[in-house]
């Protein structure tokens, strides 16, 4: 088995708050430079950059968890990941159906552009992606799991857009595959105050919006190979696979 480094929360230029430098090519360049083995692509309420990044990453031997950072109706941010393109496309349709038809103003929120491998703009998302979709935390969790995806409440230590800020505390029996702690906090610091989080695997990721943030924090995974099924085994502690926080 191997010890692999993963940063599972990275935005691209498609997120309005993502820096214009966060093209798929640049993200892969930085991820390779930082010796990351696995990266998670998590734009706000969209998965449209995942396929290109996965293709570019494969050339560098980097494994990509494809997904999105969903803003639920309660304005809780949750990371979601999917094993294959069928599930990813179904989830993109779910996002398209449930994102309010409210236009982005790039001057206020930033540009929402999709680019190709040569950083040429090929699509602009007109709807504001940081808006809350019309589905609740529970509804998103149920839908993600119906697609055999991963559901991970994001930056639970943050005072905005976290499950704690929006819902007060961790909902009873929440079916999360893991919980994410932001780069500002060590998981142990947060679990000292909230020991109830210890029943979930704890991940720490960069939530990178700028190239220099990629891989500044990461989680080490003890798995056989970088694959979706090995990652699930680690989250469930099956056959020696595990998450070792970095």
């Amino acid at each position: 088995m191997k010890f692999l480094r993963a940063d599972l929360h990275i935005h691209t230029v498609l997120s309005p708050c993502g820096d214009l430098e966060m093209s798929p090519a640049r993200i892969i360049y930085e991820a390779a430079r930082r010796d990351l083995d696995i990266i998670g692509i998590t734009d706000h309420n969209t998965t449209r950059h995942c396929n290109l990044i996965t293709r570019l990453a494969a050339e560098k031997g980097i494994f990509v968890l494809q997904g999105a950072e969903v803003t639920t109706r309660e304005e809780v941010h949750c990371l979601t990941f999917f094993e294959n393109n069928d599930a990813l496309e179904t989830f993109q349709e779910f996002l398209d159906e449930n994102l309010p038809d409210f236009p982005n103003n790039p001057l206020i929120f930033g540009h929402q552009v999709q680019v190709d491998e040569n950083e040429i703009i090929i699509y602009e998302e007109k709807r504001l992606l940081v808006n809350a979709i019309s589905k609740t935390v529970k509804e998103v969790e149920v839908f993600v799991h119906s697609l055999n995806g991963l559901f991970i409440p994001a930056h639970i230590d943050r005072r905005k857009n976290s499950i704690y800020s929006q819902l007060g505390f961790l909902p009873e029996n929440m079916k999360a595959d893991a919980l994410e702690v932001s780069r500002a906090t060590m998981p142990e610091q947060f679990s000292d105050i909230h020991p109830e989080i210890n029943k979930y695997p704890l991940l720490r990721s960069s939530d990178a919006h700028y190239p220099e943030q990629i891989g500044t924090v990461f989680t080490v995974w003890h798995i056989n190979e970088p694959s979706f099924s090995e990652i699930i085994m680690a989250l469930r502690g099956i056959r020696g696979r595990k998450v070792v926080t970095g």
Binding site: T136, S165, L167, G168, P171
Partner: protein
């Protein structure tokens, strides 16, 4: 003022928690961040929110909230309704938005 009197004065719909309808409301609190309600709501207040998650009942119970008004016609989730019935905390519904229902409640309680 009794919750039942507020229900009839403001034309609220009783969604759940019927056993708590004789509770007394001492005032109101308005917030959609549950962490803020935990920190700042006072015992006996009616809480006005757009949140429908089951955690609202736990927060209301923790803070001895007299009733919850859910705005804009939102329907609470099933587990929210079950917990409301178990905790005897009424969940009331209105089609009005937060600004309007809060204004009406404020005027009503001011008369007391």
């Amino acid at each position: 003022m009794k919750i039942t009197d507020i229900i009839s004065a403001l034309d609220l719909k009783v969604i759940s928690g019927n056993n708590g309808l004789s509770n007394e409301a001492s005032g109101g609190y308005v917030s959609d961040l549950l962490s803020d309600v935990i920190g700042n709501a006072k015992e006996g207040q009616i809480w006005i929110t757009l949140q429908t998650h089951q955690n609202i009942i736990a927060v209301a119970s923790l803070k001895d909230i007299s009733a919850i008004i859910i705005v804009k016609g939102f329907i609470p989730e099933t587990d929210t309704i079950e917990k409301s019935n178990a905790e005897n905390i009424p969940v009331l519904g209105t089609d009005q938005d937060t600004f309007n229902i809060t204004g009406h409640l404020f005027e009503l309680l001011k008369k007391e």
